[in-house]
């Protein structure tokens, strides 16, 4: 018996199937006639199908009951330590439910009135708990913080940023979780519509081979970081009517050597600058002149765009994508 149950726990599906079958056999063999009927039913395909259908309906009913009977209470004291989710909450009109924000949250300006509770690497658990939140929005990889919140019985919402489509998906689920479902859905619909507008507007013209750089040592071409073929930056380039030259590299960020830039021959280079206090001017783009064989350099298609909206995958993606589209296709946005 002990051996059987251990086997059932540790073994694969096949073992579990064996165990179930042996129990069924044990139940149905023996003198009790009603169980013999059950055993016969097992062999009848028609009965099996009916039983299966009944079971499906039963499971569905239970699921619906569970979902409606225990709706999670709308959150009224929310802490968001991720800039993107903070912006989402404000944009869907739930900013007044925030009682704390992350150290790096800067937009909208209202966040400056809220207490700061640390960020990705240094969340201040003590301060978070002292604000008595009924929902904490944290980053998916913050395992320690999750554990601490679980121990304190504080509900949390783990957020991870990925592609452009995930932004509106997050807005919808976050709206539902916080209790402003309609506003969340409306915001998500609007963003999707606006992105679709940009896509259709740029869709008809050519797609220049684009390199999107989001990090470089000023004055030189050292330590170039560019967007690879996954993530919201890549999605933004493609939506704005560009063809990412690193689309085949399935990474969000790519450490780029000058050799690879030469080999990929981008027709447009767009550099993003977003750090607070970064006073780099477009004059810094002259560093690219060291590689005149790059079509973008030869044809003076190296641009610099400044703004934090490029690195915060929140509601401002529309504005960011539009700026990219205007840079890639100035003729369409006159």
């Amino acid at each position: 018996m002990a051996a059987v149950s251990t086997n059932a726990l540790t073994g694969g599906a096949r073992d579990r199937h064996e165990v179930a079958k042996s129990w069924f056999d044990r139940l149905t063999t023996g003198a009790r006639p009603e169980l013999v009927v059950l055993r016969r039913a097992q062999d009848d395909p028609e009965i099996c199908r009916r039983v299966e259908r009944c079971l499906r309906v039963f499971v569905a009913v239970i699921a619906v009951l569970l979902a409606s009977a225990a709706p999670r209470a709308a959150a009224s004291r929310v802490i968001s330590i991720i800039p993107a989710t903070t912006e989402m909450l404000f944009a869907m009109g739930a900013g007044d439910r925030l009682v704390g924000v992350g150290t790096y949250d800067r937009f909208p300006p209202e966040v400056d009135r809220l207490p700061r509770v640390g960020a990705l690497l240094d969340p201040n658990v003590e301060r978070i708990l002292s604000l008595r939140p009924d929902l904490v929005i944290l980053y998916g990889t913050q395992a320690d913080l999750r554990q601490q919140l679980e121990r304190a019985h504080v509900p949390y919402y783990p957020y991870v940023h990925r592609g452009l489509a995930d932004i509106t998906q997050t807005i919808r689920s976050l709206g539902a979780r916080v209790g402003v479902e309609a506003a969340g859905n409306a915001l998500a619909d609007r963003i999707e519509r606006q992105l679709a507008d940009i896509r259709s507007r740029t869709g008809s013209s050519g797609r220049p081979k684009t390199l999107l750089v989001f990090g470089r040592e000023p004055g030189t071409l050292r330590n170039i970081d560019a967007s690879g073929g996954v993530g919201f930056l890549h999605d933004m380039v493609e939506t704005a009517g560009g063809a990412n030259v690193l689309a085949d590299v399935k990474q969000q960020s790519v450490m780029l050597s000058t050799e690879v830039v030469l080999a990929r021959a981008p027709e447009v280079i767009i550099e993003l600058r977003y750090a607070r206090g970064d006073a780099t001017t477009a004059a810094d783009l002259r560093a690219w002149d060291a590689l005149p064989a790059i079509p973008a350099v030869k044809n003076h298609k190296v641009f610099m765009l400044q703004g934090e909206e490029f690195v915060v995958p929140g509601p401002r993606v529309v504005a960011a994508t539009e700026r990219l589209a205007k840079t890639l296709h100035p003729e369409l946005f006159k």
Partner: protein, 323 residues
């Protein structure tokens, strides 16, 4: 001799290897203007500076390692033991975090600040070696160096924490090291202090031999230990600072290459010094070739390759000797 041949062979082949196929005849084809010649730009802008920087940085770290290990009489001593590398890193982190680099238009201030940081740490090391009274063991200097290194490391982390996350990302990126220098100016600038330091150390092989046995033994043979020590430590620190400002704090080369070389050529510093310089350079060039080719378009920081390759190689060498 073998080392010289290896280094020359590596330096000649390395620029020919890369993620992009180029035609060497096109590279040197004068009829095509440079601005339109992709192959020539790959060769002269993307590859050749990398190879030269790698040779220089690898040699500098290896020589510095030999000198530190001999004078501190400690096999675990490395170019970072006395805090010079941490000082250099601090310079870079400060400049990156507070955006001081954007003030100097057109010139990256990062290598300059790195060198300044190294010089600051070097000043402290020098003061320590001067303040050392006769009879104090090199262990004191070693411990003081470890303490300074830890202190500067703590400052680094402090600045990274108070800085913006995007700047922290940049400084971590810098700390991984990169040989993609992209211009010859940086190399020439680093070459000056590296040459001076090498010349100074070149006068010291006998002193290095004797001091690594023991200071008393050296003094009894008429070596001015304190003077030799000062020259050696300052030169080795200069090498470290220049190497870090050119390529970043590449781990492993400075600590293991001297041991690898000693396992092969023995303990005579007249052989160890040039062999370490040559092998260190060749080793880093090979690591950089792997870093820029083996992972497709997405490069790999060379610092990750040095230990990944060098660690098993050193273990193999060590156990082969022991058998």
């Amino acid at each position: 001799m073998g080392f010289a041949a290896l280094t020359i062979a590596v330096c000649l082949t390395a620029p020919l290897i890369g993620s992009t196929p180029i035609h060497i005849s096109r590279v040197f084809d004068r009829t095509i203007p440079f601005a339109d010649n992709v192959d020539a730009q790959v060769f002269f802008v993307a590859r050749l500076p990398r190879v030269l920087a790698s040779v220089l940085v690898g040699s500098a770290f290896a020589i510095a390692g030999v000198v530190f290990q001999a004078f501190l009489r400690n096999p675990l001593a490395s170019p970072d033991t006395l805090g010079v590398s941490s000082g250099a890193t601090l310079g870079a982190v400060v400049v990156i975090t507070f955006h001081i680099d954007t003030a100097v238009l057109g010139v990256s201030a990062v290598p300059v600040a790195t060198f300044a940081g190294a010089a600051g740490a070097l000043g402290i090391v020098y003061a320590m070696s001067v303040a050392r009274r006769r009879g104090t063991s090199s262990t004191v200097l070693l411990l003081a160096g470890v303490a300074l290194s830890a202190f500067l490391g703590a400052l680094n982390r402090f600045i990274q924490v108070i800085g913006d996350y995007t700047d922290t990302f940049r400084s971590i990126r810098w700390m991984m090291g990169s040989m993609d220098v992209g211009s010859y100016t940086d190399i020439v600038v680093a070459l000056v202090p590296i040459t001076a330091a090498c010349v100074a150390i070149g006068t010291l092989p006998r002193e290095l031999d004797l001091v690594s046995i023991g200071t008393e033994a050296a003094e009894s043979r008429g070596v001015d230990v304190r003077r030799a020590e000062r020259v050696a430590l300052v030169s080795a620190s200069l090498l470290t600072g220049s190497a870090v400002s050119l390529g970043g704090p590449i781990p492993f080369v400075g600590i293991i290459v001297p041991h690898i070389v000693r396992l092969i050529v023995g303990a005579d510093h007249r052989l160890v010094l040039p062999a370490a310089a040559l092998f260190g350079g060749a080793f880093l060039v090979i690591c950089d070739v792997i870093a820029r080719t083996a992972f497709g378009a997405a490069g790999m920081p060379v610092g990750a390759i040095t230990a990944f390759l060098g660690g098993p190689f050193f273990l193999w060498l060590l156990f082969r000797r022991m058998r």
